[in-house]
Assembly symmetry: C2
Homo-oligomer: 227 residues x 2
């Protein structure tokens, strides 16, 4: 299948990282679309943030449902379990690990990209500051790129602009790309709170990144709770 | 994550190939479960066949929904398009090709296997007699196995017992495994007809296999339309 390497699909959750990736993709590719997976997020505020950012960025957004993970269960993001600190003894991973999630979401993005003629896939996975999720690592992405190229017979490239950046470096990149107004609309809090709870692992990581970069979080500025 | 190599999850559609794989898995592994993906098949008879066969085989079945492909569209199996002979000019594949389907279904099976402690994944993909789907090939399966091992940090092995068999050889294998009574309950017809239409590509391939193996199709015997 012929696909255009200058056309990109961004896997877009409406969080800090994928919002930065969206801005990077707009600066990098001729044509950009985004795909948001509605997988039964516990907090509808995430989907609302994604829609608002895509609209503000002027990028077409497709929302693809995926009701599989609720049925599989066994994690804190789609089930009833509370997000807790630390890791499970069984796999040494946080209870927010949803097995296979990034692989499946990127494969769904590839299926959309296939129908839309886009060869570039963009995702905000990051090895540096991640929660240790194995499906965020460069090795996994390289294997998945090969799987998608072979399995869809199409010249996909998975772009991971944040892979080796710290959260602070991601903030610097977002600022350089002029993406702070988009980040003002982004959602990060695992507990779905607006303003963000400030105490869950995702909030803590985000706050640390902005602090280290010396940039006020535009989300907190917008909500009047910065500083 | 520690998983048991003697425990298997069979990706199970209720068709001829995955039914043969189920029988193979029962003969091969200590513990067998099956996963059926409810992806919006146009014909509910497929899901009914899968449930009946799992029950007859005495194997626990989990049905995992996946509503993504209907939303992505662009194919004849989940959309309104009719199944037609021949291939599309754009990708030289039949219009029954659902981009990414096997990759995503096996990844979902891996996610279930992860929660169930099973290291073996079994699928009926076949290079020899397939419709040319690139996600049925050995190379794709090898790349996907690597992706799942890395992305879920778990020692998965994807078993493809039918990969190099013709349909006739698959029939011979099923007979040797004593699986003909299960095949009597299986469903193959792309047009969802019972008795099968006999003219769609899937029916034609199935009939050819039984004929070449010199075995009466137990489904047609059960329905009283054999010979």
């Amino acid at each position: 299948m012929d696909l255009d390497p200058q056309s990109a699909v961004v896997l877009f959750s409406g969080g800090q990282d994928s919002t930065t990736c969206l801005a990077w993709a707009i600066a990098t590719f001729r044509r950009v679309e985004c795909v948001t997976i509605d997988y039964g997020q516990r907090h509808v505020v995430e989907l609302e943030a994604a829609a608002a950012i895509a609209k503000a960025a002027g990028v077409p957004q497709r929302v693809i449902p995926c009701d599989s993970f609720r049925a599989i269960g066994g994690n804190a993001l789609t089930g009833d379990e509370a997000v807790v600190d630390g890791v499970r003894a069984s796999n040494h991973l946080p209870n927010t690990f949803v097995p296979g999630r990034n692989i499946i979401f990127l494969s769904l993005a590839a299926a959309v990209a296939y129908t839309r003629g886009c060869a570039a896939l963009v995702t905000g996975v990051c090895e540096t500051d991640s929660s240790g999720y194995p499906d965020c690592r460069a090795g996994t992405m390289a294997a998945l790129q090969e799987t998608l190229r072979l399995g869809l017979e199409a010249p996909f490239t998975i772009h991971t602009p944040l892979m080796d950046l710290t959260k602070a470096e991601t903030v610097v990149m977002a600022k350089a790309l002029g993406a702070l107004p988009l980040l003002a609309l982004s959602h990060t809090c695992y507990n779905g709170q607006v303003p963000p709870c400030g105490t869950c692992p995702a909030c803590v990581l985000r706050a640390k990144g902005f602090a280290e970069a010396g940039v006020l979080d535009p989300l907190l500025v917008r909500l009047g709770v910065a500083g």
